[in-house]
Symmetry: D2
Subunit: 155 residues, 4 copies
């Protein structure tokens, strides 16, 4: 009934942009979110959380996000499952983002500007999508997005 997630962390790799057969953009990346500091402080721990974005937001993320960038993500948890090649049911959890904020400019060095800097800030994650068109599961067993049937994609 209500499902909201807000994360701040850093990209572990450059984002990956794919397209469904019908040409719908989907971008995936992983956010490393440091845990509140651990007891023994042995090693600094993080959760690695898979993020999925769709359509215009996917394009923007692919264009402007890069490995290591501090990023805020707003969205919802999606859990899907499939049976892998060994006939075993696998559960996959991702965050379907509908709002992404770039907290570090691309021109490293001076980042009093958030977003892309230079004042020519793009729409960068302003788009908010909700509803069925975000209900997809773009990852395969190997972690790469799959080809999604366009029947699943409303307008």
């Amino acid at each position: 009934m209500l499902n909201r997630v807000i994360l701040i962390g850093r990209l572990t790799r450059d984002p990956e942009l794919r397209y469904t057969p019908a040409g719908v953009a989907v971008t995936t990346f992983t956010l490393a979110v440091d845990r509140p500091f651990t007891n023994q402080q042995k090693e600094r721990e993080a959760d690695f959380i898979n993020i999925v974005t769709w359509r215009q937001l996917a394009e923007t993320c692919a264009n402007y996000l890069r490995k290591g960038r501090l990023t805020a993500v707003e969205g919802r948890i999606q859990v899907r499952n499939y049976d892998n090649n060994e006939g075993r049911r696998v559960y996959v959890t991702e965050v379907i983002a509908d709002n992404v904020r770039f907290l570090e400019s691309s021109n490293s060095g001076g980042n009093r500007e958030e977003g892309m800097g230079g004042g020519q800030a793009p729409s960068q994650g302003q788009q908010r999508y909700s509803g069925p068109r975000d209900n997809q599961d773009p990852f395969q067993d190997d972690g790469k997005p799959i080809d999604i049937s366009d029947d699943d994609l409303p307008f």
Copy 2:
């Protein structure tokens, strides 16, 4: 750096209370969270999200939550992994709750009361835990909580 989740849904089963070897309570349950309306509206879809609570909150959840109850959960996403018996790395995602609100009374029939009804409302989820003591992974491959080394549990 920041990791916050808020969910409202219904328990798919009664909660399960376990104890670590040192006697720390951990309760797990699954929340069915209806998705915002789906495309063809074919069947009503939901995400099934695993929730973990610790200590006093675990005891309270075990005592008062039941299958089917409408419940609000606040916490953070935790991703852990382990190598299963086939030597395959498995990733598990759970929500470590630090705040649980009972939105339906136990006396089914009249539920204008939230919490436990009867006025003798317990502390019911008021406790907020943070820090390392919530950093555990109580589920096994089969979805049941494992026995957790108490070394991992600060105070």
Copy 3:
């Protein structure tokens, strides 16, 4: 850059539905949100938070919400100010809701159904609006919504 609020509480009164000159619906109500338990536990305390909804969501809220109902609200904080009749600047803070969940059915007695019960659940708060059309300030000095210029209302 990011502004998100999630509340669960009870309506202090029936919601009020108004219309802008151009006929845009705006519904306002106040949510009583109990505070996490107070020190001396003298009296149970709550925060009374003003909520504003627009358009279809406003209509749905006006139709289905009533005084006392347990309700979840998702939205953003908006702060506006105006100079009152004494020439004093007054600051007003509201939550502009884009998602409202009815946690108690209207047919009091049996509420295993959320929303309106009876299966004929309406769209009830599924609509998510964002952007400038929510940037209005519908309250007057006396707490009643004002007539809003339709110039401020995009499509």
Copy 4:
């Protein structure tokens, strides 16, 4: 019953640190949070939201936050009221923060580091306080924190 706010914005001024008669630290500042894009895009609009932090978190914020810094705040909405000198009831809304993240380093120029930079990162907002000790109202009519009776402050 549930009251959670997450904000990302910039300080409009340096934070102000005060102490209650009993020596409890309270720091206040205002966060400018840009609104999602405005109608005519005439001028860039923002909400100016008052933030209150207590105790250790107050000290940390006072030490490390400065005007203009990009900052994430997690907390809850608090609404209080008082009668001003003209005998008029005034309502004040603030966010009582229990988690503050410094998204820009203090050594302006190179801010790939979050927090305080230099590796000597302090505890910086890790502390999470809940319960009655955050239920205070440190602002006066003129926006400055008042002296708070220590009776109101549990331990």
